[in-house]
């Protein structure tokens, strides 16, 4: 093919002729024309150096573009060649400097002067002669991260092995194969495992672990009394079959699924149906649903041959993400949402930061933009948004579950709400109308009063002048400002003269007459012609216009708080609140947040730098290539559907190198407080390496061999000696020096309770917790604003049900959640952090939840039979699953005596709060 700068000969001559300077076209092979060279050196090069080199030279290649070499210009950047020699109108660089395309403006800070733009145009027209050498040929476009070959041998992407269980010296310690792997590593490092934990500690540990609740004193007593060899196993079975298990472990999954009851991000609307997904997750854990099935339902539950309301509800996983609901650019919104979905699947299911690949190939991992857009095409073929919207706010996709009768009944509910809303708004506009009329009737009085103060006067002063005269202080204040802002307004010219002269009486006379005349003339004009829009006399017409201008000198403040008197305001607020409460409490038509199928795109273009307006080559739908090597090649995706079902099945394949590894590691993390791979959501190059790689593979194999049974996995872990170790070690100092982070598990890690456990333990210990599973708990109607402009928080957290049923409001989490490290519900989290911050202490010292719980507990303890020492004993058993020591009893009794002046109940309440706030309560050993 002919190079473009030669192809354009004909057009070029016209252009060049127009410049009146005939410059021969040069190609690289020919000797450059000296005049053209001179033009470049004198005009173009300085221009490029001054305006472009900062970002596009010496290795700085913003947008992939280098402008300090000839080839840099010709090859161009991510958006293609910068110049087409001979064709300025087709050259990106000219488009950019012309500033006509708002998405492509260079230099970004300042438009070039017109003569510089002309210089570039002329230079390109002349053939873009450029003598600059290519500095040491630009480095070949090597993949940024790892190559495919390197990738397939990276530890997490290799096929899952079937490692042999290692031999160990202390074989008597080994209860399950897990112990052999753990002990082998300990022995190799010269470490001894900690001795077994005592029974009380173990029971408290496993009860919190499996149910998120403390053991009751009865459960402790029963376990202590059971000396059979399988006593602990039976505790595990009891806990696994209690519905509290699903509440606890379902919540773990909700962290990964970034579950929330509101959108957050730009516009915070209630996800009024998200709870169905939450209940689906809890039920799935309780029912022992195999993980592969659980996963397939969440990605493609709507496409399964046996699809049901349950499996469709599972796809809420794809819809729950935070979205920029008011994003005006639909295409950007679509791509941003797809990105959120890919990121969630990447981190949550695969432990890969796939979101990084939207704009460029992965800098570390063997993932490419082609992988990303192959997946993106699947999700672009999926419906995550409905076609409807409320104003600027787009609606997410839902799957209706309502019957026709329910739909019919809901119309009435909607009408009732609309009527209440209208009542409030009509009341407001009527009241505003009355205020305007009242102000008009006293127009002259306002102008008279305005002569008594300057525009700087504070409202208190204005009110002191206006109120005795029956004038509205805010209207009067505005009136004075209006006069100051409009010194040239003809209607008020007279006012300025008279006010300056201090002739108040004349102001009164003049304006009373003027406005009366104007109103009269207006009445007459309307009588003569009902369609009249003005009065013939321009002077009177100007007065009339001023008088009736809602934004004029008599403007009433639009804010009801400033406009209305207290009674009117109270009535308006009452009506507004009635409408809000009716809406908040109204039922919704049953529906599930769920995806559907959209028009199938079998391929889509790579978006250059992630910019949805800058398209590169197209890629077919598909799965990340580096993960294909390890398990069966996929067949082509069906043309008639999105490919989500195939994606789901590909993910849930036992040979997938990541799916099972990532999940068993999550379960390990939730049991032990740290994963075998510390970075639970990143199995890539920048993630941690496994502390026990063979154990990880052994667990993954065992897990998939068992039919992906999560409860089997728990049994395996909980039966181990590893799980039953104490949290302290007889030779702590030396173990600590060898493995300070306890990565090898020479003792059981101490952990702080998670936010929900703290809350539930407070209520359970003080006998206030209400049981019961499921149901809608966010006190808002679907799509209702959680926060509109008012910033008033209507969401309540005083329910006494388990914390999983408290609303999860993005952008404004419940204080206890926020302060005790509840994860950011906009991103998948496999490993919550554990911070110690002062606001946590403020919460334990001052929050009503803690105070009320302590008071209730105090009353219950006082009502018990027995001595104070017995009561202290009962409190310790309930809070710590152990009796107090003698020293502790003595100290508690002394505290009660010291606080006796406050009264018995208050003294006990202070003590109880102390017990709940102490470390032992919120740490599990």
């Amino acid at each position: 093919m002919m190079p473009p700068h030669l192809r354009s000969h004909a057009g070029l001559l016209i252009g060049v002729a127009a410049l009146l300077t005939i410059v021969p076209v040069t190609s690289r092979s020919a000797e450059p024309d000296p005049a053209a060279l001179e033009f470049f050196e004198k005009r173009v090069r300085p221009l490029l150096v001054t305006h472009c080199y900062e970002c596009h030279a010496d290795g700085e290649t913003s947008g992939g573009l280098a402008l300090d070499t000839r080839s840099g210009l010709l090859v161009g950047g991510d958006s293609g060649p910068a110049i087409v020699p001979g064709r300025p109108d087709e050259s990106r660089i000219v488009e950019a400097v012309r500033y006509a395309n708002p998405d492509l403006r260079m230099p970004p800070q300042n438009k070039l002067p017109p003569e510089d733009v002309a210089t570039l145009e002329r230079w390109i027209t002349m053939g873009a002669v450029d003598p600059r050498e290519d500095v040491a040929a630009a480095p070949a476009a090597a993949p940024l991260g790892m190559s495919l070959e390197e990738g397939t041998s990276f530890w997490s992407l290799r096929p899952i092995a079937r490692p042999a269980v290692p031999a160990v010296r202390r074989a008597d310690w080994v209860r399950t194969p897990i112990d052999a792997f753990i002990l082998a590593a300990l022995e190799e490092a010269g470490l001894e495992p900690a001795p077994p934990a005592d029974r009380r500690t173990l029971l408290r540990r496993v009860t919190f672990d499996l149910t998120g609740l403390p053991p009751t004193p009865d459960e402790v007593a029963a376990f202590l009394a059971d000396d059979s060899s399988d006593a602990f196993d039976r505790v595990v079975e009891r806990l696994l079959s209690s519905s509290d298990y699903g509440v606890r472990w379902g919540r773990h999954w909700l962290d990964v699924a970034r579950y929330a009851d509101s959108n957050g991000l730009d516009e915070n609307l209630a996800f009024g149906h998200a709870w169905r997904y939450r209940d689906y997750v809890v039920d799935s854990f309780n029912a022992g649903k195999p993980y592969d099935r659980f996963l397939v339902e969440q990605i493609a539950g709507d496409l399964l041959p046996d699809a049901s309301a349950e499996t469709i509800t599972g796809t809420g996983y794809l819809v729950l993400g935070a979205k920029v609901l008011a994003e005006p650019d639909r295409e950007k919104l679509t791509m941003d949402t797809i990105d959120e979905q890919i990121d969630a699947i990447g981190k949550g299911l695969l432990g890969m930061t796939l979101g990084c690949v939207r704009c460029h190939d992965h800098k570390f991992d063997p993932l490419t933009q082609a992988d990303y857009y192959g997946l993106a095409a699947i999700f672009k073929s999926t419906r995550t948004f409905a076609d409807t919207n409320t104003g600027a706010i787009k609606h997410w996709h839902e799957h209706g579950l309502a019957t026709d009768a329910e739909k019919e009944a809901m119309k009435k509910v909607d009408e009732e709400i609309a009527a209440l809303q209208k009542a409030a708004s009509s009341f407001r506009s009527e009241a505003m109308g009355k205020l305007r009329a009242a102000a008009r009737a006293k127009a002259a009085d306002y102008l008279v009063a305005c002569a008594a103060f300057g525009p700087d006067a504070p409202l208190t002063e204005v009110a002191a002048i206006g109120t005795p005269r029956g004038l509205h202080p805010y209207v009067l204040h505005h009136c004075r400002l209006h006069l100051a802002y409009h010194p040239d307004d003809a209607v008020f010219g007279r006012w300025h003269e008279l006010a300056a002269a201090g002739d108040v009486a004349a102001i009164d006379r003049h304006y009373r007459a003027l406005f009366a005349d104007a109103e009269e003339a207006w009445r007459a004009a309307k009588e003569a012609d009902a369609k009249a829009t003005s009065i013939a006399d321009p002077r009177l017409d100007a007065a009339r216009a001023a008088l009736h201008d809602a934004a004029g000198f008599l403007a009433v403040p639009p804010k009801p708080e400033f406009a209305f008197d207290p009674e009117t305001l109270a009535e308006y607020h009452r009506l507004e609140e009635a409408a809000r409460i009716a809406e908040s409490g109204a039922p919704d038509l049953p529906a599930a947040m769920a995806v559907g199928e959209a028009t199938v795109l079998t391929e889509m273009p790579i978006h250059v730098r992630g910019n949805h307006r800058n398209h590169g080559r197209s890629v077919a739908r598909g799965f990340p290539r580096v993960m294909l090597a390890a398990h069966a090649a996929r067949s082509d995706l069906p043309a008639a559907s999105s490919g989500r079902l195939e994606l789901a099945r590909w993910l849930a394949d036992p040979e997938h190198p990541l799916t099972s590894r990532v999940f068993v590691n999550r379960v390990w993390r939730w049991h032990f407080g740290q994963g075998i791979v510390g970075t639970t959501d990143n199995f890539g190059v920048l993630g941690d390496r496994p502390s026990h790689p063979e154990l990880l593979d052994w667990l993954a194999r065992r897990f998939t061999d068992s039919g992906w049974s999560i409860k089997e996995l728990h049994r395996l872990v909980l039966a181990s000696s590893t799980y039953r170790m104490a949290s302290s070690h007889p030779d702590e100092a030396s173990a600590d020096s060898i493995d300070p982070e306890n990565r090898l598990l020479w003792r059981f890690p101490l952990r702080r309770l998670e936010a929900e456990e703290i809350r539930d333990a407070l209520l359970a210990t003080t006998a206030r917790l209400e049981r019961g599973l499921g149901g809608k708990t966010v006190p808002l109607r679907n799509r209702q604003f959680v926060f509109n402009h008012t910033s008033v928080d209507h969401t309540r957290y005083d329910s006494l049900r388990r914390a999983i049923y408290l609303p999860v409001i993005r952008n404004n989490l419940y204080t206890l959640f926020e302060q005790f490290d509840f994860p950011d519900p906009t991103m998948p989290t496999g490993s919550r952090v554990e911070t110690v911050v002062a606001p946590q202490a403020l919460f334990m010292l001052n929050a009503p939840l803690v105070m009320d719980s302590a008071a209730a507990w105090a009353r219950a303890l006082i009502a018990r039979e027995g001595t104070d020492a017995d009561r202290v004993h009962a409190a310790y058993e309930a809070a710590y699953a152990r009796p107090p020591t003698e020293v502790e009893t003595t100290r508690a009794l002394a505290f009660l005596r010291d606080s006796a002046a406050d009264g018995t109940e208050r003294a006990w309440s202070l003590l109880c709060q102390g017990i709940l706030a102490a470390n032992e309560f919120i740490y599990v050993r």
Binding site: G264, L265, G678, D688, L845, Q913
Partner: protein
């Protein structure tokens, strides 16, 4: 690729990650927790050597560059004040009032655009600099010689939520740390008994907590909200800072009991860092209960001072109180103070009623801001305090309805004063009608880069590793606007 040994993995990132975990998890709340004692010396030394940061994560840290400002206050005007009605006069709007705009509109606008709309306010030149300010801000106008008016700020998102998030966090699509959190992360605090970053009466709409959240930065970097936009500033308080049921003596006795129990527990459970940290956190919280309300108590300020901030006028009292509180926080060593002007409407969002709305809004803030500037100057604080004023975007020079303006993120005005910026200076320009930034255009990323620069931080070096990559406030963009540096 190097494969780990069978036992303890030793990847290059592991030690860094471990240290980061310590910083992240043993984080303090509002202030110090005697960190040096809590962390083992070796890790501390390594951390300091590697990151250049000292070990107490909240302790004041040396900046990257010579700092021009030590602290910053952001007077945030929620809703988007109109630049063409305040600090960016456009005579052509008067001339071409009512005509269709003679320029191309953006591809995506928030609402349909009408014809050009002139400003209802007059602009006058003020001060030695002669910079024009509209009649909306007669008091601020008297300080125009202290202002550095940025007339070419621009963002990308034309909706409130997106624009607020962009301005506060640099991202309108993801949850990212807010600029106050980044600054706290970079500089620490000058008062270890107070939060480094407070935000007074912030709005809970349009991004809410994310606008002062730490996202993936350590917990100590998050902003501490004092009330919110629905609370009057007189009632604004840190959550759970007060206990209405217990007296101080009772609480002290209870705290002593908790401390005794915790010491016993540490003796049996092992001297875990977090357990000891929690012991101290209760003491700090107890002290905080006294210090925060003291700082917020303005009754000790003289009547003249209260008048200066407009506390004597119901119109200005609410915002004035916020500004006076801000001055007390700044003086006490808080690094980043945000003051939000927002009410039960979207305050400055005049799609209609431009004249009434802006009149009312300006009247509420004009005197307090002028008083605040005067007070900072008198105390010598203005020299090393950066004051930033502005909204999430400006408004269109075209009309919406008959008397409103739509959102305009393509060119708008913010202003700075104090620490390290040129005074009595206007930087950049929008086009002849005020729609697009065309001269010395300053993207929100550039604004962030410039703010960090003034505080002595290099925006390309202030990074945090999260989810496999290094994050910055300015993402991959940002240029320091050198033209405004004094």
């Amino acid at each position: 690729m190097h494969e780990p040994a069978a036992t303890i993995p030793t990847t290059p990132t592991r030690h860094l990650a471990a240290r980061r975990r310590i910083l992240q998890t043993s984080a303090v709340g509002f202030g110090h927790l005697a960190f040096r004692a809590l962390l083992d010396a070796e890790v501390l030394a390594e951390t300091a050597a590697e990151s250049g940061h000292v070990a107490n994560p909240l302790a004041a840290k040396p900046p990257h560059l010579p700092a021009r400002a030590r602290r910053i206050v952001f007077l945030f005007m929620k809703g988007g004040p109109s630049h063409v009605d305040t600090f960016d006069p456009k005579p052509l709007l008067d001339r071409d009032h009512g005509k269709p705009p003679p320029f191309e509109l953006p591809k995506v606008t928030f609402a349909a655009q009408g014809n050009l709309l002139r400003s209802p306010w007059k602009f006058r030149r003020h001060g030695q600099s002669g910079l024009p300010v509209s009649d909306l801000f007669p008091h601020v106008a008297r300080h125009v010689d202290d202002l550095c008016i940025l007339r070419s700020v621009h963002g990308t998102n034309p909706a409130h939520g997106g624009a607020l998030l962009k301005l506060h966090t640099g991202s309108d699509q993801f949850v990212r740390p807010s600029m106050g959190s980044w600054i706290t992360y970079g500089l620490g605090t000058d008062n270890e008994n107070l939060p480094a970053f407070v935000t007074i009466c912030p709005t809970l709409a349009h991004g809410g907590v994310n606008n002062w959240g730490a996202a993936f930065l350590p917990a100590f970097c998050q902003g501490t909200p004092i009330g919110n936009a629905s609370t009057g500033s007189a009632q604004a308080a840190v959550k759970h800072i007060r206990n209405d049921r217990l007296g101080r003596a009772e609480q002290r006795r209870q705290l002593d009991l908790i401390a005794a129990m915790n010491r016993d527990h540490i003796a049996t459970a092992g001297a875990e860092r977090l357990l000891e940290g929690r012991l101290d956190s209760f003491e700090l919280a107890f002290r905080m209960q006294a210090t925060m309300p003291e700082l917020q108590d303005l009754s000790g300020e003289t009547a003249a001072m209260q008048r200066l901030y407009g506390l004597d006028d119901p119109i200005t009292a609410d915002f004035g109180r916020q500004c006076l509180m801000a001055r007390r926080f700044l003086e006490a060593g808080v690094r980043f103070v945000q003051v939000t002007h927002s009410d039960s409407e979207v305050q400055w969002d005049q799609h209609g009623n431009l004249y009434q709305g802006h009149t009312k809004n300006a009247a509420e803030v004009d005197r307090p801001i002028a008083g605040f500037l005067q007070d900072l100057k008198a105390r010598g604080l203005l020299d090393d305090t950066l004051v930033l004023w502005g909204g999430e975007f400006g408004r269109t020079p075209t009309a919406q309805g008959t008397d409103g303006r739509d959102h305009n993120p393509h060119g708008f005005t913010m202003w700075m004063a104090g620490g390290g910026v040129k005074a009595g200076f206007a930087y950049g320009a929008t086009d002849d009608y005020g729609y697009y930034a065309v001269q010395d255009a300053m993207h929100v990323h550039d604004l962030h880069a410039t703010i960090l620069h003034l505080l002595g931080l290099d925006h390309t070096r202030l990074t945090y590793r999260h989810a496999g990559r290094d994050f910055r406030l300015t993402d991959v963009a940002g240029r320091v606007a050198k033209g405004i540096l004094a």
